[in-house]
């Protein structure tokens, strides 16, 4: 059973979101997603300043067997990509909810109703 922290929000496409105290949102991929991808060898993070729409592909995670898009779960502006992933893509495997975060976004507009809480996300994994 994969780890699904209760304090985060999730997208059906396996991204997680953490609402930070300063109003920004940190985004990564779930423990389930990193486990399904296998050992990650490369992560392409978006550049700061880029405007993203909810559902827009804005990062790429590449494992030994696949390269997959990471979609922005919200509208907003990217304020930082996780530079540590350039040299240590494995952080996504070892610490998907911590050091393996992918990007920080300053949200524009209200949160999408399509986002899931931990329980609802866990239910999607059981299907």
């Amino acid at each position: 059973m994969s780890n699904i922290p209760a304090d985060l929000k999730y997208a059906r496409t396996h991204e997680w979101l953490r609402m930070e105290a300063d109003g920004t949102v940190t985004v990564g991929i779930s423990d389930h997603a990193q486990d399904a991808l296998g050992d990650l060898v490369f992560v392409e993070t978006p550049e700061a300043g880029r405007s993203v729409k909810a559902g827009e592909a804005c990062a790429v995670v590449e494992s030994v067997k696949a390269a997959s898009d990471v979609y922005s779960p919200i509208d907003g502006e990217v304020i930082e990509g996780n530079a540590a992933l350039a040299d240590q893509p494995e952080l996504l495997n070892t610490d998907p909810y911590g050091a393996g975060w992918i990007m920080k976004i300053r949200p524009a507009g209200p949160e999408s109703p399509a986002l899931l809480d931990a329980k609802a996300y866990a239910a999607t994994l059981e299907d």
């Binding site: 490369f42 550049e47 590449e62 494992s63 030994v64 067997k65 696949a66 390269a67 898009d69």
Partner: protein
């Protein structure tokens, strides 16, 4: 390896297994407006007897001429061993088989090829080849746009001294993918791209700058100054180079302070016959930081479970069978047979041999140009030194003169008047190592006669 086509039953069974009614349904995602019903301009099929005859007749049209045309494809001596070995059963296929690792010999050959091309270009990584030099430049432009994330414009600067065919092909491949190609004018005296010509883009967002060395006119660009200009403003540098010339010239990886980012070009000079324009192969090399944006396949060297050396396809996650429509390109190893020939060619010549070929080309072309400009009505279009091609200006239209030379069995060069009307009656000539002193003398006499007759007429 046997090729076993699937029967109608096999196809039905496979379609049933995935729940699809017909093969057409697998192509549903292509909008109907983009599909054509039939290929209207393709002639009817010919039988083996007819096609053999047609090909023999076409081949005969090319044979027996004394050739002084370059312009992107070059007649070099090909040691007999090159195609003797390339056409052995073990090598004689363009394709890497499915389950490529089962074919270690093919992978090792590609790995050796990549290593040689990386050494020639002075860059870190080479792919397993592309279709030809022109499409390689188009792929390099697309790659630069993917790789240069600091640039938003998709603007690629292409000097007018880059092969005009390459410019047209790159436009065809990439022009509808959000890229724009802008032409940098050349200096009328030197026939090269002056660094000052780039100043109008000093404050503009430019994704990449293409530099061809030697350029289409055979002259030498100031690659260091052009590269430094680009790198200082975050513009990637795409080198278009002739592989033979790299035995003597500074490799792209060492241009200027930081070197070019991508090098590409036509591989034909490395052991591939002219054969009416193809098949040839393109090469593409880059610095390792850009490798994930590189199109095509890459073979890597590894060790197996027992620690023995082996070869494997690597970085496949970027490729179309995994990444689908987001793949870096749809290129695999289609030109593998030409790559085989090129690898054997380079192995036989070695660095020193390739250097001797290049030096002989330079010497012969200098001799040719020196003789031709002594003819009344013939002069050099540009000052400055040149590799194995140079532009001559004549005192009358080039087309009829080339026709008259062809009647004497001489292919006298490439007529530039369509691509560069501003040069007047301009002819691009080339003499590789295959042209002897007698050949050059023959051309000199023939051009002298043809011009004299034209003047009298």
């Amino acid at each position: 390896m046997p090729f076993i086509p699937h029967t109608e039953d096999d196809i039905r069974e496979m379609l049933a297994a995935i729940g699809v009614a017909g093969i057409e349904q697998l192509f549903d995602e292509i909008p109907p407006g983009l599909k054509i019903e039939a290929l209207a301009n393709v002639p009817a099929a010919l039988g083996e007897m007819e096609i053999q005859r047609l090909m023999r007749e076409r081949a005969a049209l090319d044979a027996g001429h004394l050739n002084f045309i370059g312009a992107g494809a070059y007649e070099h001596h090909i040691p007999a061993a090159v195609w003797e070995i390339s056409t052995r059963g073990e090598f004689y296929s363009a394709y890497t088989p499915y389950q490529a690792e089962a074919s270690q010999g093919t992978l090792q050959l590609i790995y050796e090829y990549q290593s040689m091309m990386a050494a020639l270009t002075g860059l870190d990584v080479s792919n397993a080849s592309l279709y030809d030099g022109a499409s390689a430049m188009g792929e390099a432009a697309l790659m630069a746009v993917r790789a240069n994330r600091g640039s938003k414009s998709g603007r690629i600067l292409v000097p007018a001294t880059v092969n005009p065919v390459y410019r047209r092909v790159a436009e065809s491949i990439a022009g509808n993918q959000g890229l724009s190609f802008e032409t940098v004018p050349y200096c009328a005296d030197s026939g090269t791209t002056l660094p000052a010509a780039l100043r109008r883009w000093d404050d503009e967002d430019v994704t990449a700058l293409v530099i061809q060395q030697p350029n289409f006119f055979g002259g030498y660009e100031d690659v260091a100054a052009l590269t430094d200009w680009a790198r200082a403003k975050g513009t990637l540098v795409i080198a278009v180079v002739n592989p033979t010339s790299l035995a003597l010239l500074t490799p792209p990886g060492q241009w200027g302070e930081g070197g070019a980012d991508i090098a590409c070009g036509e591989g034909q000079p490395l052991g591939v016959p002219l054969s009416s324009g193809g098949p040839y192969f393109g090469f593409l090399a880059c610095r390792s930081a850009l490798v994930r944006q590189m199109p095509g396949r890459i073979v890597g060297r590894t060790v197996d479970l027992d620690g023995r050396d082996g070869f494997a396809l690597t970085l496949q996650a970027r490729e179309q069978h995994i990444r689908r429509s987001k793949a870096t390109s749809n290129i695999c190893t289609n030109q593998g047979l030409l790559v085989t020939a090129a690898t054997i060619y380079m192995s036989l010549l070695g660095a020193e041999g390739l250097g001797r070929v290049a030096a002989a080309c330079v010497r012969n072309t200098a001799e040719l140009v020196g003789q031709l400009v002594s003819i009344e009505g013939v002069r050099r279009a540009f000052a400055g030194s040149f590799f194995h091609e140079s532009v001559l200006q004549l005192d009358r239209p080039v087309g009829p003169l080339l026709q008259a030379l062809a009647e004497r069995g001489i292919l006298g060069g490439y007529d530039l008047s369509n691509d560069y009307p501003e040069l007047g009656y301009a002819l691009l000539v080339c003499a590789t190592e295959t042209r002897t002193a007698t050949d050059i003398e023959t051309y000199f006499q023939a051009l002298n006669d043809v011009l004299r007759q034209a003047r009298v007429a």
